[in-house]
Symmetry: C2
Subunit: 332 residues, 2 copies
DNA sequence: CTGTTAGCGCGTTCAC
DNA sequence: GTGAACGCGCTAACAG
């Protein structure tokens, strides 16, 4: 039925060891016999069994990827970055959605380790202590992509969330705004709560503007909640919005314009993501570039170093961000 | 180092066969010994090695997924559908991007088969004869998701592309339009060329409207080309657009409105996809619902039947479509 | 209900 | 440069 290394060995009048050598590119094979073996492989349509190989060599050339939700464009972008680099290094990817559910995350980690992946790229807004504990004792390397582990025990790749948010709010302040709303994603996420929100507060404070809690609206990152957030802020009449992602920003745009105000003349908006949506909005969104693809790519690259037991120069990688100025803000 | 089934067998004073039985939920184990084994498993932190298991059982409980590009929201949606059902049936997914490159597709197929996946879900706009040949002789089941194989030799899940397109164009005609542009994706794609385009022509013909080739614009599915398409049609002044996907539709909206025309008063648009973008456009897009998630889910479900060697009632599944009426068309 | 014994397909010493 | 033999960790008969 299935043709094994044994079959080609017999057919080529060599031992399976020799076949194994040519398949694995070992140089210790006489060119003539190599050629002969290759020919038989071709004839028989022999295809090495990666599972058997994995058992014998203890390497599967596959890495696990655990992300919240592949149908969310942010994570899809991240996944693509991971996959491209994985392919470059000859790895395949086992992709799983966790929906940020901690039990699912734990269970997925377990499954991946059971499948003997050579490494894991993990993403989640918050990493519980139990998860962290499991990761620390993982026999295979793990790197966090766009995820915060403040204990810094696990390798990670991120941007300077705090600095980026601070700069955005500061820019809004610089444009003369004092009533700046912060439309945030879930505050259960460490990035939102401990970085963006704190940066928002600090930027306000540094400008001598009093923090008003009611200007902060916690949303689920969706378009509809972006719209709703503006509605809930109606009486406060914010003149500027700092929004956690592009999809919500579009909701904000629509709600603001529906109320008769103009962007950026009456209201300015700075988004956070800079996906292709930011160019598809009207006005086009000024947005902090959150380089998901790069974070994925760099995470995977870092993981390959761990898998090869290479020297790691920097365990906590911080990628640069930038503000992409478009038309939802008044630019000088 | 790593604890094996052997270790727990020794520690629990049973044979490895017994350990295997409890791990696999085999009922032929006395409750007392089951409990004892479970305890040792817990103590030793034993984790079954899926690779060894795969070698012995010839089942890996993982399926391969080959799609064009996970960072494209359409395919991401499809992938999520696949993954959800896969999870439901306890399969993991090896996800790879082909970028619609035939060589890459062939090579990925080869890789997946080498990794001994139990099944494969494949998506591509066009399936070359060589690819088809390889699929036919694949030892493991394959199902095509949202992909056409006219020879009908490989199982597949699709919608009635022709009927959907026909209905869209007919609706536009019914609203009084005669100059209807068709902004198509690549005509190298069978769906675009042999289904949507043909339906467009037939609907026109059935209404006694002459087909004008210059009203058909081939694009790469991007927002920018949607804009460009409208520009290239400026002199022809089409009063309606049938557009191949939501992203291009938004480009069309922006370009049309930039030219001073109003939607839907002056120009009507029907899109094809009905992603969440269709609600985020202004005006919101009337769109043919292309149920990517469902196609993925049903494909995976179908695949499980093949993997279980169940009876297949319908090898070529056609899912229903519908038109979601919103504000880019005048609705009665 | 439980243990023994073969493999599953391949990588890898270690001799020759 | 090449082959024989063992082992990777587990499932699957087959006995008992």
């Amino acid at each position: 039925m299935t043709v094994t290394i044994y079959d080609v060995a017999r057919e080529a009048n060599v031992s399976m060891a020799t076949v194994s050598r040519v398949v694995n590119g070992n140089q210790n094979v006489k060119p003539a016999t190599r050629k002969k073996v290759l020919k038989v492989i071709e004839e028989l349509g022999y295809r090495p069994n990666a599972v058997a190989r994995g058992l014998a060599s203890k390497k599967t050339t596959t890495v696990g990827v655990i992300i919240p939700d592949i149908s969310n464009s942010m994570y899809a972008e991240l996944a693509r970055g991971i996959e491209d680099i994985a392919t470059m290094y000859r790895y395949n990817i086992i992709l799983s959605n966790s929906d940020q559910n901690e039990n699912k995350e734990l269970q997925l980690l377990e499954t991946m380790l059971g499948k003997q992946v050579d490494g894991i790229v993990f993403m989640s807004d918050t990493i519980s202590t139990e998860l962290l504990y499991e990761m620390e004792r993982s026999p295979t390397p793990i790197v966090l992509a766009g995820s915060i582990d403040e204990s810094a025990t696990i390798a990670s790749v991120n941007i300077d969330y705090y600095g980026a948010a601070y700069e955005a709010v500061k820019k809004l302040i610089g444009n003369g705004h004092e009533k700046i709303a912060f439309i945030s994603g879930p505050l259960t996420s460490k990035v939102n709560k401990d970085y963006k929100l704190k940066a928002y507060r600090q930027a306000l404070q540094d400008a001598g503007i009093e923090f008003d809690e009611s200007l902060v609206v916690e949303c689920n990152n969706s378009y509809d909640e972006g719209i709703a957030a503006v509605g809930s802020l109606k009486e406060l009449k914010p003149t500027a919005y700092f929004v956690s992602n592009d999809e919500m920003s579009i909701g904000v745009i629509h709600a603001v314009e529906a109320s008769g105000l103009h962007i950026p003349e009456d209201v300015e908006i700075i988004s956070y993501e800079n996906s292709k949506l930011s160019r598809m909005a009207r006005p086009m969104l000024t947005s902090i570039a959150f380089p998901l693809y790069d974070i994925g790519a760099v995470s995977m690259r870092l993981l390959t170093k761990y898998m090869n037991k290479e020297e790691i120069e920097e365990k906590q990688v911080i990628l640069p961000y930038r503000i992409e100025e478009r038309n939802s803000t008044k630019n000088t």
